[in-house]
């Protein structure tokens, strides 16, 4: 039987939303406070959903320590307590939460084995969240 398992993680990072393709005025207009020159930070809540058949011998879709290890090594260690604008993934990409969510999905998709990555959901604050779903 197929079940879907979701685990929630946390990391903290700073960013500044600024596009080189826009003028200073346009950047202020589009990004508002998020364009302030020295950046600002968030506590991001990350939800990773994987699915697959429940193994007969363990009762698991995936052994949690394995999932924790992949997320820790590939995502948390990469982004936690970093200024996202200085992380290689965002050298040429604006570190909006949309782009961060896509980046995390792509990273995990490459590294996940034996289960299907259904969804990455990222909360920037308790009032806004973003999802990338395998389609």
């Amino acid at each position: 039987m197929k079940a879907h398992l979701t685990r929630r993680y946390w990391f903290a990072a700073s960013h500044r939303l600024h596009s080189e393709k826009l003028t200073a005025e346009q950047n202020r207009e589009v990004y508002g406070k998020c364009n302030n020159p020295y950046g600002h930070g968030h506590n991001y809540a990350l939800e990773v959903t994987v699915s697959g058949p429940v193994a007969q011998d363990t009762g698991f879709v995936m052994n949690l320590p394995e999932l924790d290890q992949v997320v820790k090594e590939q995502v948390l260690e990469r982004f936690d307590h970093q200024n996202l604008n200085f992380v290689v993934e965002f050298r040429d990409v604006v570190p909006t939460t949309e782009n961060l969510c896509i980046s995390i999905f792509e990273i995990l998709k490459r590294k996940m084995s034996g289960v299907h990555l259904d969804k990455v959901r990222l909360e920037e604050t308790s009032k806004n969240s973003f999802e990338v779903v395998w389609e």
Partner: protein, 137 residues
């Protein structure tokens, strides 16, 4: 028009993970602390989502009182303040992981839920860990 309705309830239970076909070392390696022989417990949060058309007379997808009673009778009374491995029949020969508990709850409700169509069982073992089961084979 299909509307989805979710009802939540809570129960507390203990369990441990152990596969008798594994050696002691394999059990320890696979299940870690969850293999401790005398078990440990969680406060589980269960969300049951049903779906259906809105009844033109009542404006309801489901009579909530009836849904609540079925959840209480079929799940909470059977599992609340129980040691799942020893006291719930589904787990006599099956490890009570969150995945398997969610599937067991689906099976219990599917046959008894005569008031609406079951859409999803979501079971939180804790705030940061949950399983969804949609009845998929």
């Amino acid at each position: 028009m299909t509307v989805y309705l979710t009802r939540k309830c809570e129960f507390s239970a203990s369990h441990h993970y152990h596969n008798p076909a594994f050696t002691a070392e394999e059990n320890q390696r696979t299940f870690g602390k969850c293999n401790n022989p005398h078990g440990h417990g969680h406060n589980y949060t269960l969300e049951i989502t049903v779906k259906g058309d809105v009844d033109p007379t009542t404006g309801f997808v489901v009579d909530l009182k009836k849904l609540k009673d079925i959840m209480e009778r079929e799940v909470v009374e059977a599992m609340d303040h129980r040691y799942l491995n020893h006291e719930v029949p589904e787990f006599k020969n099956q490890i009570p992981t969150t995945e398997n508990i969610a599937i067991a709850i689906w099976k219990r409700l599917e046959t008894k839920l005569n008031v609406a169509k079951l859409h999803r069982v979501r079971l939180y073992e804790m705030q940061d860990l949950w399983v969804d089961f949609y009845g998929e084979a």
